[in-house]
């Protein structure tokens, strides 16, 4: 029997680990933004408009160091170039269920984690639906905005008295990526994963995190071109 298409609520439920992982990071961003001299409204606006964690932290550093607007903007844009690959990869996994009628809205929520969660779910046999993508995206986006707002209002040092909670929340995203990796692991993809991982390490050591991520993804994807 063909499984039914997952609902908005199923997507919202699947967003829970992402939302829990986003909260402390967004909270940290809110704190960092207010520490850098921006208002709580401005911190919230960055999360609302950009919605990309690493870019937002970089935006704070660039703007407070007096970088010109265009230089800052193009640096942030280059950081997120990898997202170009997510939509087509997701649509390919969706197969005949792939629908893009409302993609102008839900695809804005295709962050690294949302993409990984959706792809992992389809690798486990779940069908694609735009409702599910909306649920997944809303949970993650809502958590990102809520974490930013609370962090911006609370100010610095709110988790300093709770190191165990802070460590657990901080480990949420690496744990999520590892679980997602396990969920899509197959013999066919082992060379892709191994090359992507190795190149990410080398690229990060040589060029920094952004360069490592971009090179790792490209190297892994190019490895997939090799016919086996």
């Amino acid at each position: 029997m063909t499984p039914s298409r997952p609902s908005f609520l199923a997507g919202l439920a699947a967003s829970l680990p992402i939302a829990m992982g986003y909260l402390p990071i967004a909270f940290s961003f809110g704190v960092a933004a207010t520490r850098a001299g921006f208002s709580a409204t401005e911190a919230f606006a960055l999360s609302l408009i950009i919605y990309a964690g690493a870019s937002q932290f970089l935006a704070l550093a660039l703007l407070t160091s007096g970088a010109p607007v265009l230089v800052a903007a193009f640096t942030l844009i280059a950081m997120n170039l990898r997202h170009v690959l997510y939509g087509p990869a997701l649509m390919r996994a969706a197969g005949k269920d792939g629908s893009t009628r409302l993609a102008w809205a839900w695809a804005f929520g295709l962050t690294d984690e949302v993409f990984g969660q959706a792809l992992g779910a389809m690798a486990r046999g779940q069908r694609f639906s735009e409702s599910y993508m909306f649920g997944l995206g809303c949970g993650a986006y809502g958590s990102w905005l809520a974490g930013t707002a609370v962090g911006a209002v609370a100010g610095g040092g709110a988790l300093q008295g709770w190191p165990a909670v802070s460590a657990g929340l901080g480990f949420m995203l690496p744990a999520l990526f590892l679980a997602l990796l396990l969920s899509i692991l197959s013999r066919r993809q082992v060379p892709v994963i191994a090359v992507a991982g190795a190149v990410t390490v080398a690229g990060t050591l040589a060029l920094g995190t952004t360069g490592g991520i971009l090179l790792g993804m490209l190297a892994g994807a190019v490895t997939g071109l090799v016919r086996r």
């Binding site: 992982g21 408009i49 170039l81 170009v84 929340l169 992507a196 994807a221």
Partner: protein, 107 residues
């Protein structure tokens, strides 16, 4: 509202929207079935997740035993719960809980 911040946010946000939405709408995955583009795109997902895991775990790796141990126990918890339940959410939460519990136990 700081005008420079708003300008940077709008430019970066518009680019993010375009990067995430336009390739999805263009359905570039339908090009050349069975060809090089299809193989490239099908490898993109696993490559991206592997890359993001490595990028997330790299800063946690240290020679300081007290900082490394929570990462190790958290990672083992993810592997164990995944092996037992095949649940992404369960494995993720177990990893975070054990990582935090290890920090608490180490004082």
């Amino acid at each position: 509202m700081n005008v420079e911040l708003l300008a940077v946010a709008l430019l970066a946000g518009a680019a993010n929207w375009a990067f995430r939405v336009l390739p999805t709408l263009a359905r570039t995955d339908r090009l050349a079935p069975g060809g090089w583009l299809e193989r490239f795109l099908s490898a993109t997902g696993p490559a991206a997740i592997a890359t993001l895991f490595v990028a997330a775990i790299l800063p946690e790796l240290t020679t300081d035993f007290a900082r490394l141990l929570p990462v190790v126990t958290g990672t083992l918890a993810v592997l164990a719960v995944w092996a037992a339940s095949r649940s992404v959410a369960g494995a993720t939460i177990a990893g975070a809980v054990l990582c935090g519990a290890t920090v608490w136990a180490l004082g």
